[in-house]
Subunit: 536 residues, 2 copies
């Protein structure tokens, strides 16, 4: 079972040294600490375990250390920054793990970029040694790359020539679209096993700065100090402390304080319920819990194909937090809002069918309205449950200011913009309802819900939809949903998760890469994989 | 062997009726006319043969019939518009054919949209009967859809629920991004076997107009007449007549009048040479020849992994045509320019490595400069071939006005914009060279070429690059090149060819769809494919 929570300061693969306003994040991978099997994590190569720690550390620095303005990433061993994803691990990992591994590492890289863009936390890659594949992809998620200029140390993306797969963590996309490397040079770079070093790396924009070995440390310190000065973080702010999750797991259920999941194996579905609360810790905890649950489902429950999103509780309890989430005024509030944006983005990228289910007990308002809007389709009860003795009033949804831009999807649009793409009039009509409860029929008209069965049809309609979904090809559903969710403009993130990941999915699946004699397993053996040479 | 040329008026699957300004394009598929095997093309279902005819007909109407302002697509059989791609064909086709089939049909749909956007040719889908899958995808490539409102006829995309694959011809993308169907409704639509009919189809924006059976023909005629009135085509213009290709084929060579191809099986490469000519027919013929050759390579030479693009002849001969291509003033000139844009777009989408090779005998100027700029990398000789008795002057390239917007890539950018993405200064510098010959070293600096070996290194450098390319995984190269070529913004076309096609590639490859017991082969048997249920 894959677990995503990591204890503070008990990391196996990283060291963190704080010297405000700079934190040094030193990659020092334990070769014997592989997470999913028996392989050696040589030369700062990584697997999912290393990346889970990285994600936990970055979130902690970001949330718990407002005094830090710049994070320096470096390798512990002289001559090695990071060798990228471990090949033996990739060779032995099942297809699903490879894909989930890439998706998670991509999300962590995006979280680095989001922390820079929104949280004033700058990232400096101090490339003090070999930096290849995923190592270079980690480096280019940073704001600034300093490469040691020692006539040998190079940056490289050797996946295509050496491994017969693509760089899987956004490398191809960031090289052209973030760094502006010319695409013909990108072609040379990504097919050059030994990579590019020194002045050429700088000229090609693969790195931002060179430093001689004798002055490397000082250059890094100077640059980090300068970068920290551009941060808007305030050392006097109260940290946002990440609480332990206190998760309870059983065969078919997961429960946290505010979030619970109940699995129904027969229909391969899971019902996620988020309970509202007016307690102060609700916004942070519920986001962390949902985040952890989504990762649990991805890695540990691959056959659960449909996620039903429910909420329960009082809309007022959710609205208690709305103003602080919409207009955060402290470090802790800002990070909580940004965390919700990240978790919702993770939800958008679940390769599972997402149905929201809204009934009178629900409270899909404020931030929870976004949970509903992330769904592929939404069922909303029209009217009340007639046979209850004291039926609750009819279900409503309510948008708040949070739906107007604070929670962007990967395509850069709000979830309402994505739903009403090319329908400006419809969008305007929907947005006039910000702050007003919307009942089922109107929600369907406005694009906030999809189907509004009444009491009589409610259970059957949802049950049939879940059962039907379970009969469809999971592959076809994954492809279809990945296409429907992100309409309109694209961004680096949609390219990474749409175009690049889809190719990666195919390449990893093909015998050329993954068979017994494929390129991943024959790596290092001196013999190249036997390729099916046909192209289209 | 797949052949893409079709004789005028000898179509097996379509009838064309001209009544200016309207042409009726009547789909009447010969059930026994399957192109790649023994399957029955029932209910106006199609295979590559049907689509090759469609592409040929549309191009002929567009080029040869300036008197036509609106094309009406309809089914010959009452009750059937088009049932989409033939399932038996998909079930038996090898993976590569499925992918190439989808790519070609996608390009034909885009050519319909381009003809509407740029050539004033409007398209009306007169949906007089069942319209499902690829049939609906064909319809939504048209400007306007009229659905017969007979209480039964529906439009549908039943691929996911019925076939376990995705709609492969842009359906998912066009539904949301072209037609503005809400994504939650798109989810319902694309999982609803029976589709959506009547008022609901109209409300969901799946069609643009309904017409009762009794008035259907008149409604179509009225609308077509109205649409033709919006056309800027001039019936008095001289038609652009498409000449026969006169192709000569041998085992390792293909030759046309201006374009030749020489295959070298050892390195799995082909050298395409375009010869310049001042003859009037050069711009049209060379484009048609290159187009045909690219399709030939895709379908008939799947193991040829690298394409070397060369040109030969006098730059002056190419420049003779430049003004007419840049500023077309007649129907024929306009269509020739647009044809080049389409052919270059087809070149961009070759799933093969593209190298341009520029030496003193080359004439990469004007429209041929775009051929070089389409390459993944460009080798340009620095200086002259020293050992020749009368060496030609050093190679030059020259951009013309044609490179400033007339030949957009799928991402909507020019090829120079794509190469110098995020480098406005560099782009400005390069564009100051429009109309001026650029030698090798400068071309590399300006982003027009990649590598400028001198005489001494020239042959080795290119040979090694070709040999290396041949050792790499074709899958990894395809994925890498698909990511590098289209930087920056995305469009419906990049989504279709990037995101959607990549997913399709994976889905078609998986046993869930394509094994002996997969969904494609078990279609119609009553038993569903045995799915690997894991998702990521």
């Amino acid at each position: 079972m894959m677990d995503f929570e990591r204890e503070r300061d008990a990391y196996a693969h990283w060291r963190v040294e704080f010297d405000a306003p700079i934190a040094r994040l030193i990659m020092d991978v334990d070769p014997d600490g592989g997470a999913i099997g028996d392989y050696e994590l040589k030369l700062n190569s990584y697997d999912i375990g290393v990346d889970i720690e990285l994600a936990a550390i970055i979130r902690r620095i970001r949330f718990e250390h407002p005094e830090i303005g710049c994070v320096v990433l470096e390798g512990a061993i002289s001559g090695t920054f990071c060798a990228g994803a471990n090949i033996r691990m990739l060779a032995m990992a099942p297809h699903g793990h490879k894909i989930n591994f890439c998706k998670f590492t991509n999300e962590t890289r995006l979280e680095i970029e989001e922390a820079s863009a929104n949280s004033g936390l700058r990232f400096l890659a101090a490339i003090n040694g070999a930096c290849s594949g995923g190592g270079y992809e980690l480096a280019i998620s940073c704001d600034h790359l300093i490469l040691i200029d020692d006539r040998s140390t190079a940056v490289s993306l050797p996946e295509v020539p050496l491994l017969g797969v693509m760089p899987g963590t956004g490398g191809l996309t960031r090289v052209t679209d973030k760094r502006g490397v010319r695409r013909d040079r990108a072609d040379v770079f990504a097919t050059k096993t030994e990579g590019v070093a020194g002045a050429e790396a700088l000229e090609w924009k693969l790195v931002d700065e060179l430093a001689k070995p004798s002055t490397f440390d000082q250059s890094v310190l100077d640059r980090a100090t300068q970068m920290a000065e551009t941060s808007d973080r305030n050392p006097d702010d109260a940290p946002l402390v990440i609480p332990p999750l206190d998760r309870e797991l059983s065969d078919d259920a997961v429960s946290y304080r505010y979030v619970t999941a109940q699995i129904e194996r027969g229909t391969r579905s899971v019902t996620i319920t988020i309970a509202a609360s007016a307690d102060d810790d609700w916004p942070l905890r519920s986001a962390l819990e949902l985040d952890d649950l989504l990762l649990h489902l991805r890695f540990n429950e691959p056959e659960i194909g449909t996620i039903l999103m429910k909420t329960v509780g009082s809309a007022d309890d959710v609205m208690v937090h709305d103003a602080r989430l919409s207009n955060p005024s402290s470090h802790a509030e800002r990070e909580t809002t940004l965390l919700w944006a990240r978790v919702l983005s993770r939800l958008d990228l679940m390769a599972r069918s997402l149905f929201a289910v809204i009934d009178p007990a629900s409270c899909f308002v404020s931030i929870l309205a976004e949970v509903a809007l992330a769904a592929d389709r939404t069922y909303m009860l029209d009217g009340v449950f007639e046979d209850e003795d004291h039926p609750l009033p009819a279900a409503t949804m309510m948008l708040s200011e949070l739906s107007l831009g604070a929670m962007p999807m990967a395509n850069g649009l709000t979830r309402m913009q994505s739903r009403l793409w090319l329908d400006d009039e419809g969008l305007e009509a929907a947005l006039t309802m910000v702050g007003k409860p919307v009942e089922a029929a109107q929600a369907v008209r406005l694009g906030m819900a999809t189907i509004n069965p009444d009491d009589l049809d409610w259970e059957d309609e949802i049950r049939i939809a879940i059962e039907e979904r379970a009969t469809y090809s999971p592959d076809a559903l994954t492809g279809m949903e990945a296409n429907h969710r992100f309409c309109g403009p694209e961004t680096m993130a949609t390219k990474i998760f749409g175009r690049l990941s889809a190719w990666q999915n195919w390449i990893f699946y093909r015998p050329n890469a993954s068979s017994e004699t494929g390129s991943l397993r024959s790596y290092g053996s001196g013999s190249r994989g036997d390729f099916d040479l046909k192209r289209t």
